[in-house]
Each structure stands twice: as C-alpha cells, then as structure tokens.
C-alpha cells in the first residue's frame, strides 16, 4: 500500500491543524486504512501523555518570590492613585495643622519610596543591560566571523562609526602592554546602537561597549559566569567592559579607554 498519509499529515491531523479540505480527506482515509488509524491513535496517545507528564519542573519558592517581585515592581507602577475623591468630607478645620504635617510626611515618604524604587528599577535595568552585553560578547567569541571593521588603528576604527552612531567617542592612543585593538562591531544593546570595541589581552578577548549615557551614573564591577564586567561613565558616555581575563588587566583596559574620553 503506497497511498498512506505522511507522518507530517497524520501528526498535523492529530493536532487539528490541517485545513478543512485536507482534514476531511485525511478523515476519509483514516476511516478505511488500519495502519494510518493505528498511527493516529498512537499519536493522540503520545500527545496526551507528553501534555500530562512533560510539565514536570516547578521553580523553587525563593525563585518564584524573586520573579514575582520583579513583575510586582511594574504592577505597582501602574496602580491607581486611590479613590481620594470618593471619601466623605470631614470636619477638618480644627485639625488642619495635623493634616498639613501628615500630608508633608506622606509627601516625604512617597518621595523616598519613589527614589528607592527608581534606584531599584535602574539597578535591574543595568543588570539586564550588563547581561545582554555579556551575551553579545559570548556570541562574538563563539562566532568565527571577522569584526565588521578589522583594524588596530584607532584612526580607522573611530571614523568607521561616523553616521552609524548618534554620538562619538575616542580611542586610547596607547594601550597597556600586551593589549591590542582588533577592530569593532556596530551592535545593539537595549534596542540602542552601541560601539562594540574588540581588544586582545594576551590570548584573551575583551569587548568594550560604548553607548550614549541615558541613566544616572553607575560604576559597577561584577562577575558573571566566569566573565568580569566593569561598567563606568565618562561625560555623556556609558561604557561596559567585559572579558574573562584577570580583573586587574580588564580594569587597566577600562582605565585606558576612560582616560581617552
């Protein structure tokens, strides 16, 4: 028998994904073909078993709590201010001093909370940005492709970004010993164009991401999955240096780039 349904057709039929005409033809065939009917039953059985048993992993309570906090931060942001206008009017004249003091206290409290929240959101954003920069660096290491501009000459690399970035930056005239400029890529971090400067430090590779400064100044130094990340700002620029090299050498590279701005 050579006119059996293909495995893909049977599978799609089991999922209810065939167009009406094809589904009708498949149904007609299955009604008269025992092998196809048998395979269809097995596919349904397999689909149902996977559906029931493959939801096997549950996150730990602390993880769930942490993620809910991340999400909760946003929902509080969109919460309404309350229903003050619905409250009944009271005889407040005698208590005006207390009311004014309470109002000032509330304003102060709100302002402090807002500052705290803004700092936390900025910190989350920055951590996400550092993670994204780390991913780009790892992707660059994994790729065999050449940088978009291959040159150790700062007078070649810097002009290459003309018209590609809405800002400009400088490259150090001299680098610390055993460090070389390899080239650069135009990359995107958080949907914004950035310069990814590529350096060699001995046999290690390092990326320095240069972007326009849009948030409050932050200096960070953290380690993530064996990579060191140094974040710093200079004037209108925000820079993130990443490498798996010794932190001291990465710091020396970051200092050289910072001094050039």
């Amino acid at each position: 028998m050579t006119d059996h349904l293909t495995a893909a057709t049977l599978s799609a039929f089991a999922d209810g994904e065939l167009p009406a005409e094809e589904a009708a033809a498949a149904r007609e065939h299955v009604d008269t073909c025992l092998p196809c009917a048998s395979t269809l039953v097995d596919t349904w059985l397999l689909k149902s078993s996977i559906g029931k048993s493959a939801h096997r992993y549950c996150m730990t309570a602390p993880c769930e709590e942490r993620l809910q906090k991340i999400i909760g931060g946003e929902s509080r942001n969109t919460a309404t201010a309350g229903d003050a206008s619905m409250r009944p009017r009271r005889k407040w004249i005698g208590y005006s001093g207390w009311i004014a003091a309470a109002a000032m206290f509330l304003v102060l409290l709100s302002w402090t909370l807002m500052q705290f929240r803004a700092q936390r959101v900025a910190s989350n954003e920055y951590a996400a940005l550092a993670a994204e920069a780390g991913d780009l660096h790892i992707a660059m290491l994994a790729s065999s492709a050449q940088p978009q501009v291959v040159s150790s000459d700062r007078h070649t690399v810097k002009p290459w970004f003309q018209g590609k970035l809405p800002f400009s930056f400088n490259l150090p005239e001299t680098l610390p010993a055993d460090m070389h400029l390899d080239g650069a890529n135009l990359a995107y971090l958080g949907d914004r164009p950035v310069a990814q400067l590529l350096f060699s430090i001995g046999r290690h590779r390092a990326s320095v991401f240069v972007e326009q400064r849009t948030r409050t100044a932050q200096a960070i130094h953290l380690s993530r999955a064996g990579f060191h990340v140094i974040g710093f700002t200079t004037g209108d620029l925000e820079l993130i240096a990443i490498s798996d090299v010794d932190p001291g050498q990465l710091r020396a590279l970051a200092d050289a780039v910072r001094a050039a701005q």
């Binding site: 293909t6 599978s11 078993s49 996977i50 780009l136 994994a142």
Partner: protein, 195 residues
C-alpha cells in the same frame, strides 16, 4: 437624546489594559518549565526566566495590547536562550537536519495496534517518556513542548520560533517520530532484560 447618549458613553470608564503582572504572572510556571527543559539545569533556567522577564518588562511598552502575549514572551525567552551560554553550546552541536520527507509514509508494520511505544505509554512510564524527550535536539524539543505542553497552535509556534508553519508541522512530526523510536528501543531493551 443622541448627544446625551454620547455623553453617557464617554463617561463609561474605558476597560483598563491588563498590566504586565496580569499577563506574565500566570505564565511563570510554563516559562520555567520550558526553560528548564531547554537548559537542562535548574539554576540556568531560573536565570533564563529572570532575564526574559526583565527584557519583556523593558519592551512591554512596545507590546500591542490584545495581541498574543504568550507567544510574545515565549519568543523573548527563546531568544534569550539562544544567546545564553547553554543555548549557544547546544545550537553549535546541532547539524541542521533535513526537514521531514513528505513521502515518509506510515509503515505497514504499524498495523499492529499494540505498538511498543503505545505499550510504554499505557504503562504510564513517565520516566521512559522523559528520557526519550531529553534526547531530542533543542529545535525539535522546543516545538514539541510548545505544541503538546503549552498547547499552542502551529501559527503561534511559528511566531515564537520564527519559522514557517510548514516547518513547524514537519518538526512536530519529526519530534514525535523520534520519541516513538526511542520508546521502541527502550521497550525492546526492557523485554530483553526481562527474558
């Protein structure tokens, strides 16, 4: 009268758009489950879900209310996985296989209704099923999870994975064929040990 009705209509409060929390919280278990299957590591899965949520939060303004949030956030999770260390490593080791041949028809031998994979499934051997699924390559595993566990339509899976619907169809079929083959092998091995 018409004016009054217009004014009344304007006074009705507009239906509030669901917040990120409303949409994302119910999906946390699913996101984690898929992340855990893909990364095969609890800590990596937690990191992946957290990173995806942060990215989704940052991009939520660009999300069009009323469109498919589940497909949108799963696409973010998948992209985050692809650029993660485990994702890069997994994808590097996979040769792009040929899509399922359209002429791969049902073999005659399947006429036996008590097939080995059916026997394993009927025995409710979830471990055997999980072991078979763990051997799936990430491109096949992800479509199988989205289809059978998350119950997404092929159209939604195509949106998440960024491939044509026809490719989703063949990948789902190939994933199932692979799992069946693994279950058959396990069943045969069990029978030989039992003899």
């Amino acid at each position: 009268m018409v004016l009054l009705r217009w004014r009344q209509k304007n006074r009705e409060p507009a239906a509030a758009a669901p917040s990120f929390a409303d949409l994302a919280l119910p999906l946390l278990p699913s996101l984690y489950n898929v992340a855990r299957w893909l990364t095969r590591d609890a800590a990596a899965a937690e990191d992946l879900v957290q990173e995806s949520l942060l990215k989704a939060l940052r991009g939520f303004e660009s999300f069009e209310t009323g469109t498919n949030f589940k497909a949108w956030i799963f696409r973010i999770l998948r992209n985050a996985y692809l650029t993660s260390r485990s994702g890069l490593a997994a994808m590097r080791t996979i040769a792009l296989e040929e899509e399922l041949q359209e002429d791969s028809t049902v073999p005659e031998s399947i006429v036996n209704r008590r097939t080995p994979e059916a026997e394993v499934i009927r025995m409710r051997d979830a471990d055997a099923l999980h072991a078979a699924m763990e051997k799936l390559s990430p491109p096949l595993l992800e479509v199988l999870l989205l289809c059978d566990v998350e119950e997404m339509k092929y159209r939604e899976i195509a949106m998440v994975v960024g491939i044509p619907i026809g490719t989703v169809m063949s990948r789902v079929a190939r994933a199932r064929a692979f799992v069946r083959k693994e279950l058959q092998a396990q069943w045969k091995a069990t029978r030989e040990v039992g003899r």
